[in-house]
Each structure stands twice: as structure tokens, then as C-alpha cells.
């Protein structure tokens, strides 16, 4: 039996990047905000000081910062003919947990997605014709454009203090930046990171190939920075413990470094941690949320009434919460109808690893999650897809983020996995390899989706989310094409041996690929084909707003955190300026 708490104005489910941004913006608009987080409170000096943060076994291998599958996981299968089985141990992706969410342990690669990405369907039809699009695609535009989001991208970059070089200032192409990016109104808040040996060599090789490499926009900061909220960050020290780790130096933009210091002091704010939201409660007619139910660590259920509910959990768990709450019609792949769970997408990853001779010494342990050079020639619609024969693209990058020894010690193909020969090859190559990696888009398809599992339950007896996903042929073509480009780059860098890493066989949940899961509760322009309108407001229940990558109708060739942050500001503005003066649907259905 749940016990009822006094009502509040806003309940935020999940206190990561989007939850903390929305909470603070709405506190500043005069609302009382209660954030409910299933994981523990986390702060830099206690949980990841420099004295204990650089611990590869604990964080990277044993997954100390991620949500433990014992608490919440999902089931997985490649297609509908298989029986989904639980992901018992994380592999392909690593969902966050606790205050700060995945914003604690991300690499910090922060992009504005291309203007093309937001109109990827209509733009592809216009340029290549509808017949060019892949079989069984579910492509549709976002309902919001880059131009509309430009100011929100800017605010997220200035919140984080992103280190980078503009490539397009108000339509003027800038030397040294990404010539393919959409126009921005001003420069990055901080200068680009200083490069290390491998990205520097890649940049020279890329220029020889006729590409225009530029520094990865980085949330590992190049210099001290104070953000518009007054939160301060320090310069990155290239420690090599970024992704999967908290930053002990206050050098990585995160909710902890950029928002929480001011959010927690705001009198309108309260956080409840180690409390798992199990349901959004609805009015009898299902048209209004009345609040949420959560369970505390003793197993007691509580009802927190609220006028506004913001779902700010990780993409997968936002979708699950919608399904558990009966919000929106579940997607049915047999009929193609329904909206919750559709357009689930992932990313194509891979690239080429090069092994070099005596003249190179890359010192891979000197690095950070976003220190690297990127080439954007083959991303989005930056090239003619006609001859390539697929839709979408990939960014190519040389980012030597770490030399952590349990995982990062590649050896040339043909080396034994153990014994004396392995040992010699490991020593010879540890310092003499560099990789060019790719991050490729995945289009939405009819058979790739999320729903509730019929068999497996969580600790509270509630059904787990079920993922059905494989890479279609379009994405396999993209993988081959982009890996070929990576091989060219590594060869141009002077490698004597090159190892290809490309998609082969069905999508595999075991090796790490990327924590860039998208879709399942997408935004759009019609209630029949999307869960929310262009303001991230749920069509069916207008006092529920969504945040995060669950809103993306597709996945692009860039990391998702930039648009995730931008959409949080976009939604905050819509709530404050449009919804509060006149609560109700912001777009007529």
C-alpha cells in the first residue's frame, strides 16, 4: 500500500544531465521541484576523488558507477523469431545510475547534430528519391529543426564550457573548425584541447587525403571556466580515466560540476535518492498525470503528487516507465501501429587500428575522452550517397582516450592470446598503436523496437524492457564504407599493420560498442507516429514531458549528449514560456 506525500509542482524522474537542467530552470521560474533518483547521491570529493578515481578494475571492469543489472536491466533478442533473454551483465552499452547519471562517466564528446539530421527523411527523399531509402524504414523528421534548436545548443555548450573551434560562424566557414557544421552564433566558450601525438598524426594524414580535420568539441576542458550559473571547472590533466569514471579534477562537464552546486542550494529544490519510480499515476480518464509512485530502499511505496511530471531517466528506462504507466499506445511491429517503443536505434561503431614502427611513441595513457581530431567528410549528407548506396553516415576520429592496461593493449592480428609470444607482442605494441574510429548513424526500422518482456521481471516484480534489434543491410554497407575510410587514414599515418574492426554477424550485446541508445518515445509532428510533440510534451498526457535520447527518431554519426542537453533547454523554455501561462497541449493534436 502506498503512502501519500504532500503535493509538489514538478516531479523530475532521474537526476542526470536533463533532470538537473530542467529542475534548475524550473526552480528559477518559481516552481517547487522534487527530483527522484533510483541511485545514490554522488559528488566529486566523496565518490571519485583523484585518490581513488583512477581504478580500472573497479569502474571499467566491475562497473561500479553503472546501474547494477540486479536492480534493473532489460532483455534482448536480434529478431522477433527469437526468445529474448536478460542482459545479465552489461556489455554493448553501460547505462548510468545515481545522481549525475551517465553524465558522470561519459567521455565528453559534445556535438551539435547536423541540420540534415533533423530533416533526414524529407531531405533524403528530396535528394535521392523515396525508392533510395532502405527496406522497412521508419524514417520521419523530428518536427523540430536545427535552426529552432540553435540557441539551446549554445546554452548547453556554455553550461559545459565546451572546448572547441567553430567551423561555421553565422554562415561564414572558419578555418580549423568543422566546415560541415550548421551555423552557430558565436565561438565555443573555451579554446580547443591541445592534441596528443596520435590525433596530431591523424590530422596530418587526413589533410593529405583531402579531408578537413578539426578538434573534437570536448567537455574535458582546455582551461579554467566559470559557467553562466557560476559553477567553476578546472583544466583537464589528461589523466586517461574519463569514460566509465568520475572526474576527480572538476575538469569534465557533468551535472556535478555544472549544475548541482547551484541547484541544491535553490530553496525550491529537493532530491530524493535511492528511490525508484515504478509508475506515473494518471487520472481516471488517463488524460492527466497526478504524480508518480516510487519505492524506497525499505520497499515502502510512496505516492508523490505533482502538477507536472518530467521523465528524465536514461533512454531505455524512460521508455519502460511509459509502458509500465500505460502512457501512449505501445508500438506493434506486426501492424506498424502504436508509438511507444518504435524507432529504437543504435550506432555503427568500429574503425581501424594501426601498428607502428620504432619511430612512433604514442603514450596512450596521456589522453582524455574527447582529446582527438575528427573528419566529418562522410557523415550525415556531407557526401553524395548515390554511389555509396546507403543512407546515413559516420564521423571518423582519432581519439586516444586512454592506455588503461586491462582493456587497452592491442596487438597485431595473428598474435596469440597468451604465453610468451603474447607477452612480447604486448610490450612491443602498447606504445605503438593508434586507431581511427567511426561513429555511424542507424536508421529506424519496423523490426527494431522496444516493448515489455513477457517473462522476466525486476526486483519489484515489474516486467523488464525487451529490446529487439539487429543491424540492417543499409547499416552494414555504411560500416564497410566507413571502415574503408578509416583504413585509408591509418595507412596514411604510416602504420605497418592495420586491423579492421567492422560489423560482422548479428548485433552482439557482449562487446562494448556505445552507450548511445536512441528512440522508443520519439518526438514528431503527429500523435499517430510520435509520443511527443515538438516541445517534448506527451501528446496523450500534456502534463508529462520527456527528456533525453528516447526522443530521437533516428541515431546519427555523432554522440547524442549535445542534442540531449539542447532538448532539455528547449523543453524548459516551452514549459516556462508556453505551458505555464496556459497549461494544456502546446500543439493541437
Amino acid at each position: 500500500m502506498s503512502r501519500r506525500l504532500p503535493p509538489t509542482d514538478v516531479v523530475v524522474v532521474g537526476l542526470g544531465w536533463t533532470g538537473s537542467i530542467l529542475a534548475y530552470e524550473l526552480c528559477r521560474a518559481g516552481l517547487r521541484v522534487t527530483a527522484i533518483e533510483r541511485g545514490p547521491w554522488r559528488d566529486t570529493p566523496t565518490d571519485f576523488p583523484t585518490t581513488t578515481a583512477p581504478d580500472e578494475l573497479r569502474y571499467s571492469i566491475r562497473h561500479d558507477l553503472f546501474v547494477r543489472p540486479a536492480q534493473e536491466t532489460l532483455t534482448f533478442r536480434n529478431n522477433r523469431d527469437q526468445t529474448a533473454l536478460p542482459i545479465r551483465r552489461w556489455g554493448s552499452f553501460l547505462p548510468g545510475n545515481g545522481v549525475g547519471g551517465a553524465g558522470v562517466h561519459w567521455n565528453g564528446q559534445t556535438w551539435r547534430w547536423h541540420p540534415w539530421d533533423f530533416t533526414f527523411h524529407s531531405s533524403s527523399v528530396e535528394r535521392y528519391g523515396a525508392a533510395f531509402l532502405p527496406h522497412d524504414h521508419m524514417m520521419q523528421d523530428w518536427g523540430v529543426t536545427y535552426e529552432e534548436l540553435e540557441e539551446s545548443f549554445d546554452r548547453f555548450e556554455y553550461l559545459c564550457g565546451i572546448s572547441g573551434k567553430a567551423g561555421n560562424l553565422k554562415g561564414e566557414i572558419q578555418a580549423g573548425g568543422n566546415p560541415f557544421e550548421g551555423p552557430r552564433q558565436r565561438e565555443f566558450p573555451t579554446r580547443p584541447m591541445q592534441m596528443t601525438a596520435a590525433p596530431d598524426l591523424f590530422a596530418r594524414a587526413a589533410r593529405e587525403l583531402g579531408w578537413k580535420p578539426f578538434p573534437q568539441p570536448s567537455a574535458n576542458l582546455s582551461e579554467a571556466y566559470t559557467n553562466p550559473y557560476g559553477c567553476k571547472l578546472a583544466p583537464c590533466t589528461y589523466c586517461g580515466f574519463c569514460e566509465r569514471f568520475g572526474c576527480g579534477n572538476f575538469s569534465k562537464s557533468s551535472p556535478q560540476t555544472c549544475v548541482l552546486p547551484v541547484l541544491v542550494r535553490h530553496p525550491g529544490f529537493e532530491a530524493r535518492t535511492e528511490c525508484q519510480v515504478t509508475k506515473v499515476n494518471l487520472s481516471a480518464d488517463g488524460r492527466r498525470a497526478t504524480g508518480v509512485t516510487y519505492v524506497d530502499t525499505a520497499g515502502q511505496a510512496w505516492e508523490q503528487p505533482a502538477a507536472l511530471v518530467l521523465l528524465c531517466a536514461y533512454q531505455l528506462f524512460n521508455v519502460r516507465l511509459l509502458l509500465l504507466s500505460g502512457i501512449g499506445k505501445p508500438y506493434d511491429p506486426a501492424t506498424g501501429e502504436g508509438v511507444v517503443g518504435r524507432n529504437y536505434a543504435y550506432q555503427v561503431t568500429g574503425g581501424a587500428t594501426g601498428f607502428f614502427g620504432e619511430d612512433r611513441l604514442f603514450n596512450p595513457f596521456i589522453g582524455a575522452g574527447s582529446v582527438g581530431m575528427v573528419a566529418d567528410e562522410f557523415n550525415a549528407d556531407n557526401f553524395d550517397h548515390g554511389p555509396a548506396g546507403f543512407v546515413g553516415g559516420a564521423s571518423l576520429a582519432c581519439i586516444l582516450s586512454n592506455g588503461r592496461p586491462i582493456t587497452t593493449r592491442p596487438v597485431p592480428p595473428g598474435t596469440p592470446r597468451w604465453g610468451g609470444a603474447w607477452k612480447r607482442a604486448t610490450r612491443e605494441n602498447y606504445n605503438r598503436w593508434a586507431a581511427v574510429g567511426l561513429q555511424g548513424s542507424v536508421m529506424p526500422y519496423r523490426g527494431n523496437y522496444l516493448d515489455l518482456d513477457p517473462t522476466y521481471k525486476d526486483a519489484y516484480g515489474l516486467p523488464l524492457l525487451r529490446m529487439t534489434f539487429d543491424f540492417p543491410e543499409n547499416e552494414r554497407k555504411l560500416s564497410r564504407f566507413a571502415v574503408d575510410r578509416c583504413v585509408e587514414a591509418v595507412q596514411a599515418m604510416g602504420a605497418h599493420t592495420v586491423r579492421r574492426n567492422e560489423i560482422s554477424g548479428p548485433y552482439d550485446i557482449v562487446p562494448y560498442q556505445s552507450t548511445h541508445n536512441t528512440g522508443g518515445a520519439i518526438m514528431g509532428s503527429a500523435p499517430k507516429t510520435s509520443v511527443t510533440n515538438k516541445y517534448c510534451q506527451v501528446w496523450d498526457v500534456p502534463n508529462v514531458f520527456l527528456a533525453g535520447a528516447c526522443l530521437f527518431p533516428m541515431n546519427a554519426g555523432f554522440n547524442p549528449t549535445g542534442p540531449v542537453g539542447a532538448l532539455a533547454y528547449w523543453a524548459a523554455d516551452a514549459i516556462r514560456d508556453r505551458y505555464l501561462p496556459n497549461p494544456g497541449p502546446l500543439v493541437p493534436a
Binding site: K423, T426, D508
Partner: protein
């Protein structure tokens, strides 16, 4: 009753919340007004204390030590895996949450699944090691005149490990591939993880590579690309290696 999501000091703190917030949530933690930080509060890693075995028997430990010394043999580049403490590392890991799969999703039903669906093993690592090492021990006694794995010659040990790696050992009661993958992964973890966990003694694994450990600040090197890094490695405990050779 759902499990505590963290089982750390954070849960202990929630007990205080119970008393402090008569009208608030009973358990869980409420934060408002100020960052909930107190001096010297920390969430340190569990440090392996030397001496004795916590999970492995002496015979099992001897077998693991011998296996680690073949997977990572001693040579002119440095000590072997067993010498560097991989058995101590594994023993402490098996005695903790890794050994019992405490953090993993372990609800049934258990089914075999496709390779792409990943781990579907019901037995946690501690049980798998116990059963697998017993099977290997019985095999060695029967085939090698009563000798244990640790008593075989290096060539015999290599041949047996190669057969297990290839999935053709024929050892009764041993699932070759899953056991070998687990063993290889754990031995590499022990050799390369911070010495605080009992392996990588004298930072043998880090010295092999030229990995400087937890130094945390390399900015002085940025203007010297392709130059060797010469400072000795530092582990979490702050001790320096007794000897140090810079990787060429």
C-alpha cells in the same frame, strides 16, 4: 523485499534520514539546501589484505598460480602471472561480489540463448571455478600419474591449457571454452589491475607496458610528443615500484 540498490555507506546514511524526516520518506535520502558533503567522507575500494586464502583451497590456489604462470610466463621481460599475485587477486575477487555475481541479474528462467545474448550462466564464478578446478585436478591425477596441475612440466601445462582453449580437452565435468575465457580474463585483470587488489605485485604488469599508473596529470608531456615518459609508476596506495625500467 527489493535489494538495496547500492549496499554501501549510502544506505547507512539513509538510516539517519529515517529519524530526521518524520514526515518525509522513511528510507532513501533527502537532499536540499546544501551539498551533502562531510569532511573525510569517502567511498574507497576494498583493499586486498595479504596472507591466507579467503576462497580458494591451497590446492586450487597452486593450480591457479601455475596456470597464471603459463598464460603470462616469466621471461627476460619480467615475472609471470602467478609470481605477480594473480592467484591472490582471483581469491579475493571470488570472495567478493564478483565471485557471487551479486551485482548481476540472476533471476530465472535460465536458458542457453545465442552467443549474441551474452552471459546466461546460472552458476556464479565462485562455483564455476570450484567445479572446473576439481575436474582439472581429477583429470591430472588420472592422466599424469597422480600429479596435480601445478606438478606438471611447463610443456604439459601448456598442452593442457591449449586443449582447453581450443575446446578439445575432453576433461569430464569441464566446459572448456567458458572456463578458459573466464580464467584468461581474470588472470589479465590480476596482472594489470591496481596492486591494491592483490595482483600486479611490484606493478609487474604496468612495468611490462610502461603504464605509469595513477599519476593523473600528464600536461608537462604535451609539448613533447613521441618522447618516452620516464617517471616510475604510482599505484592507488601511492607506493612506487621498487625497480623501474622505462619502456623503450
Amino acid at each position: 523485499m527489493p535489494p538495496s540498490p547500492t549496499g554501501t555507506r549510502r544506505s547507512l546514511l539513509s538510516a539517519t534520514a529515517l529519524i530526521a524526516l518524520a514526515h518525509g520518506p522513511a528510507v532513501g535520502r533527502t537532499v536540499r539546501g546544501a551539498l551533502p558533503w562531510s569532511p573525510n567522507e569517502a567511498y574507497p575500494p576494498p583493499r586486498a589484505v595479504p596472507g591466507g586464502w579467503l576462497f580458494l583451497t591451497a590446492e586450487e590456489a597452486a593450480a591457479i598460480e601455475a596456470m597464471a604462470n603459463r598464460l603470462i610466463p616469466a621471461d627476460e621481460l619480467g615475472p609471470g602471472g602467478g609470481e605477480a599475485g594473480c592467484a591472490v587477486f582471483l581469491d579475493r575477487q571470488l570472495a567478493g561480489p564478483y565471485g557471487s555475481s551479486e551485482w548481476l541479474y540472476m533471476r530465472g528462467p535460465f536458458a542457453r540463448g545465442t552467443p549474441q545474448q551474452g552471459l546466461q550462466e546460472e552458476r556464479p564464478p565462485a562455483v564455476l571455478y570450484r567445479q572446473s578446478l576439481a575436474a582439472i585436478a581429477a583429470h591430472c591425477r588420472a592422466r599424469f600419474g597422480g600429479r596435480a596441475f601445478a606438478g606438471l612440466t611447463a610443456a604439459e601445462q601448456d598442452a593442457l591449457l591449449q586443449a582447453i582453449d581450443a575446446g578439445r580437452s575432453g576433461i569430464a565435468g569441464l566446459e572448456d571454452k567458458p572456463f578458459f575465457e573466464m580464467l584468461l580474463q581474470n588472470v589479465m585483470e590480476g596482472f594489470f589491475a591496481d596492486p591494491i587488489y592483490g595482483g600486479n605485485q611490484d606493478m609487474a604488469g604496468w612495468k611490462l607496458l610502461g603504464f605509469p599508473g595513477t599519476r593523473y596529470d600528464y600536461r608537462e608531456m604535451l609539448d613533447r610528443p613521441h618522447q618516452p615518459y620516464r617517471d616510475p609508476p604510482v599505484p592507488l596506495s601511492g607506493l612506487r615500484a621498487a625497480s623501474w625500467q622505462v619502456a623503450r
